[in-house]
């Protein structure tokens, strides 16, 4: 009995990894490489064979050059703002008054679970021509245009910068700063010559990330741009707007891809060196450090301003959802919630995000295991492509899917599954990376012990690896779910009438000026996300005990 089982297990062990690797390679080929390839091919397509004419047209059109210039200026400005704010919050959250650290952190991370365009909606309510500010003060302040776009993007992107900077700042050995101070350096000088240079790798990575995301974002400019042209928005209009031109859209996509690819290469250590490791093993004692008012106070103030800048729009969205037209007609009403299109879209978002989150977490972990433990030819390439899916701007992925799957043999546009697939291959990288990280910590001897005791490779994965990497699974599940619920970039190209997720419905309402409905759906969307996070956390706590029990 056992012999037969073992033999069958051996056959499975021999065949299964290769078969799985092949399936993954094929999937990544079809849903990442092929769409991107299609974008590139289309950008080179002419009426008669391949040509560079599309690129020439792009470079000859003053309008697009202006767009490109605007996008670059915007990305630079937003990067500068988010880095300063992110650094200040990181300082406040790690070194500020203890009782303020939690609230600052929570408020700063709030935008991560809010749809990015929510700030667009709120800022229009607040700062539009007939917005709350102008009505209340009787001014004629124009937020739409540059100030609105910079503010809107900064609000959505600074949490990322903050997190990345805090990661590095937390590892900085405080005795280095003490030491500089001991050698005579004043507080500002310590900040300039020691703290900032040590955090520099984090600043560079965060900066590149924010820059790329700003370039690729079309939602904020579309809502708050006030007619100023930006490249990502132009790409959107070339696909779903009146000036339908897929070749030119592909050219714009290729241009938009460049900063993202730079970030991708940088993050994997090909451009920016790894961060400084502490030179000696033994860390400094957790001695409380004296306060440094010249640095700490401005950081704290800036952090508090940023938190207010997050909370105020959130509040406004809340008000907007429950009033006729906030500021104009403040009668309380629930009518915005009774929007059939909106409720329908929430249901679709939930199903789509649920399906893609489970797929991302399950397949990502399996792929991570294959990559980490099974040598197969082309392993590095599969890993590269899997991670690349995340690096691509959603806009590019979306246009790629439109180009690749609008015709046989894989005619998927207009279906539910193309939405799921686009999320799956966009966020798969997150699960692969967390999985790889977790597996690197997992002593291979555990698996060897399991096989030694007679378990097959598959059995070992199910019984040993999966329970021990459960936290990675849940982290990936959470990330993929939240982001699939909120994402707009790729999705917006793939919707069809009656098959719209909440994010694109909110975006549409916001652009039409239906701010009440947009606010109401945003509020519902955030509530659903929060509930889901709570459920996942409860499950994690329950299974955490199980995992610990199994390991101990």
């Amino acid at each position: 009995m056992r012999g037969r089982g073992a033999r069958a297990g051996a056959v499975v062990d021999a065949v299964l990894p290769s078969a799985l690797a092949l399936v993954f390679a094929a999937g990544l080929g079809v849903f990442v490489v092929w769409p991107v390839g299609r974008v590139m091919i289309t950008s080179l397509e002419g009426d008669a064979g391949f040509t560079l004419a599309n690129y020439a047209a792009f470079l000859r059109t003053r309008y697009y050059l202006l767009s490109l210039r605007n996008s670059l200026i915007l990305a630079t400005a937003v990067t500068a703002v988010t880095l300063i704010v992110g650094f200040a919050i990181a300082m406040a959250a790690t070194r500020g008054p203890r009782w303020l650290r939690g609230p600052v952190r929570t408020a700063s991370l709030l935008p991560l679970i809010a749809p990015s365009y929510i700030f667009g909606v709120a800022l229009i309510i607040l700062g539009g021509r007939r917005g709350l500010v102008n009505v209340a003060l009787g001014t004629d302040f124009r937020l739409l245009g540059w100030p609105g776009v910079i503010l809107g993007q900064a609000l959505t992107l600074f949490p990322l910068a903050y997190l990345m900077i805090e990661n590095v700042l937390a590892t900085v050995d405080r005795t280095l700063e003490d030491s500089a101070s001991d050698l005579g350096a004043g507080d500002i000088r310590v900040l300039r010559t020691i703290t900032v240079p040590l955090v520099a790798p984090g600043l560079v990575r965060a900066g590149l990330m924010v820059f790329a995301l700003s370039m690729a974002d079309f939602a904020t400019p579309a809502i708050l741009g006030g007619g100023v042209a930006f490249l990502a928005q132009d790409a959107l209009l070339l696909v779903i707007g009146a000036e339908f031109n897929l070749r030119l859209a592909s050219v714009l996509s290729v241009v938009l891809m460049v900063p993202s690819l730079v970030v991708f290469l940088a993050q994997h250590g090909w451009l920016v060196g790894r961060s400084y490791v502490t030179v000696t093993g033994r860390g400094a004692a957790a001695e409380p450090r004296r306060a440094v008012p010249a640095v700490d106070v401005p950081c704290l103030l800036l952090a508090l301003v940023a938190c207010l800048a997050v909370l105020l729009p959130m509040t406004v969205v809340g008000l907007g959802a429950f009033t006729r037209f906030v500021g104009v007609n403040n009668r309380l009403t629930l009518e915005h919630f009774a929007n059939i299109r909106g409720l329908h879209s929430l249901d679709l978002s939930l199903r789509m995000a649920g399906a893609s989150a489970v797929a991302v977490a399950g397949l990502g972990l399996l792929l991570a295991y294959l990559l980490a433990r099974t040598p197969f030819p082309g392993r590095r390439l599969v890993e590269f492509v899997a991670l690349l899916g995340f690096a691509l701007p959603g806009t590019v992925l979306g246009i790629g899917y439109v180009l690749a799957f609008n015709e046989p043999p894989l005619h998927l546009t207009g279906t539910f599954w193309i939405l799921v697939l686009s999320c799956l291959f966009h966020y798969l990288a997150v699960a692969v990376e967390t999985g790889l990280g977790k597996l690197a910590q997992l002593d291979p001897s555990l698996e060897e012990a399991s096989t030694d005791l007679g378990a097959s490779r598959l059995g070992t994965f199910v019984r040993i690896v999966f329970p021990l990497t459960g936290t990675a699974f849940l982290a990936a599940l959470t990330y993929a779910f939240v982001n699939s619920m909120l994402t707009l970039s790729a999705i917006v190209f793939l919707i069809s009438p009656g098959r719209e997720p909440a994010s694109s419905v909110i975006f549409a309402f916001a652009r039409q000026g239906e701010l009440g409905v947009a606010s109401a759906i945003s509020l519902l969307l955030m509530t659903v996300v929060l509930i889901a996070l709570g459920v996942i956390r409860a499950v994690a706590r329950g299974s955490g005990r199980l995992v610990l029990g199994a390991a101990g």
């Binding site: 050995d173 005795t175 280095l176 003490d178 030491s179 500089a180 101070s181 001991d182 050698l183 005579g184 350096a185 004043g186 000088r189 010559t193 020691i194 240079p197 040590l198 520099a200 400084y276 490791v277 502490t278 030179v279 000696t280 093993g281 033994r282 860390g283 400094a284 004692a285 001695e287 409380p288 450090r289 004296r290």
Partner: protein, 364 residues
């Protein structure tokens, strides 16, 4: 010897825990004073208060007659060598050493020359272009020293500077620090938990326990004449013997113990006849001789024998009292094994713990 650094009643509390409890001490020009004690005794907190990294709850730090208690580290003429060295990882060795000089806006050529000089002083010539992580532990330690010396500090603060080095290197660096201290006539406050390290380099040692200085004095003083049982035990293995003062013989007092009559020198104030006293007998002062030899009035049984190379440490049971005995030069001395019966020859004189015999038998 003029006083360079004086601390008066320094106190630091963390919540209900008193980390440093009213410490006062004076450190003279060119003196090396160590603060030793078990981990958590408050010695590093004390050092960090002297350096200005921790604000004192009470007390004063006086440097060259100036009260610097409220000055930040960058305004005090102290320089610290951190336990982790705290070398700036993004700067070269030369830039690390020259950091303070740049802060003080010295001219570029002057900085270059001074850095060269400092690197030569710590025997690191030619390594200025390296990064800290390209150096060995001992070399990093030297860079940290050179960097601290670059400011010409009135007081050099060393926080467990050798704890990250392996045993051989530790001895080497210990000698190096002593050499620098003597050559440059440095005033040094040295924190360590290693009693041997402290004994070998210090002019004076302060034994710290629970935030207080138990005793401060020269290595000889505190080893041979500990003020408390804790100090006696902290500085090495020790036998504490209870006894009754018996008779005066000039300045000395004879004490009757379970192991015979022992003389106590310099007993001030002298105990009265019949008073209970506690004697400190170091293991190396006791001799073992074969049972039955002349002079073996006291007989015991060996209960353990641990060979450590330079010495054999015996535990001998003398009618219920365990006695630690170190026998030197085991290669040429007679060796005993567990179960052997031996004669014990006690030293003629021993140190008496001040405060009499009321102290508990085991503490610390």
């Amino acid at each position: 010897m003029s006083v360079v650094l004086r601390v008066e009643g320094l106190t630091k509390c963390y919540g209900s825990i008193v980390a440093v409890d009213g410490v006062s001490a004076e450190i003279g020009e060119g003196e090396l004073v160590s603060f030793v004690g078990p981990s958590g005794c408050g010695k590093t907190t004390l050092l960090r208060m002297i350096g200005g990294f921790i604000r004192a709850d009470a007390g004063r730090v006086v440097l060259d007659g100036h009260d610097v208690t409220d000055e930040p580290p960058n305004r005090r003429s102290t320089a610290m060598v951190f336990q982790s060295y705290a070398l700036f990882p993004h700067l070269s060795v030369a830039d690390n050493v020259g950091y303070a000089l740049r802060v003080h806006r010295r001219a570029r050529p002057e900085i270059g020359g001074r850095v060269e000089e400092l690197l030569r002083l710590v025997q690191l010539e030619g390594l200025g272009a390296r990064r800290p992580d390209q150096l060995s532990g001992g070399q990093q330690q030297r860079v940290a020293l050179a960097r601290a010396l670059s400011v010409g500090p009135r007081v050099l603060l060393l926080d467990e500077p050798l704890s990250n080095l392996d045993a051989n290197l530790r001895v080497l660096m210990r000698e190096e620090i002593t050499r620098l201290q003597k050559d440059l006539r440095l005033t040094v406050v040295y924190v360590t938990h290693d009693r041997e390290e402290a004994m070998s380099i210090s002019d004076r040692i302060a034994v710290v326990r629970a935030g207080r200085i138990e005793q401060i004095g020269s290595p000889t003083e505190i080893y041979e004449r500990p003020a408390t049982e804790f100090v006696g035990r902290f500085l090495g293995a020790v036998n504490l013997l209870q006894g009754d003062a018996w008779a005066m013989e000039g300045d000395a007092v004879r004490v009757q113990t379970a192991l015979g009559m022992i003389t106590v020198g310099e007993a001030t104030p002298p105990p009265g006849p019949g008073e209970r006293v506690q004697l400190v007998v170091r293991p190396e002062a006791v001799r073992l001789i074969p049972e039955g030899e002349p002079g073996a009035a006291i007989v015991g049984k060996v209960t353990s024998a641990a060979y450590t190379g330079a010495i054999v440490r015996y535990t001998v049971d003398v009618s219920g009292t365990p006695l630690i005995v170190d026998a030197h030069d085991p290669e040429h001395a007679r060796r005993y094994v567990e179960g052997d019966r031996v004669g014990v020859r006690m030293p003629p004189a021993a140190h008496r713990l001040p405060g009499g015999g009321a102290v508990g038998a085991t503490r610390g």
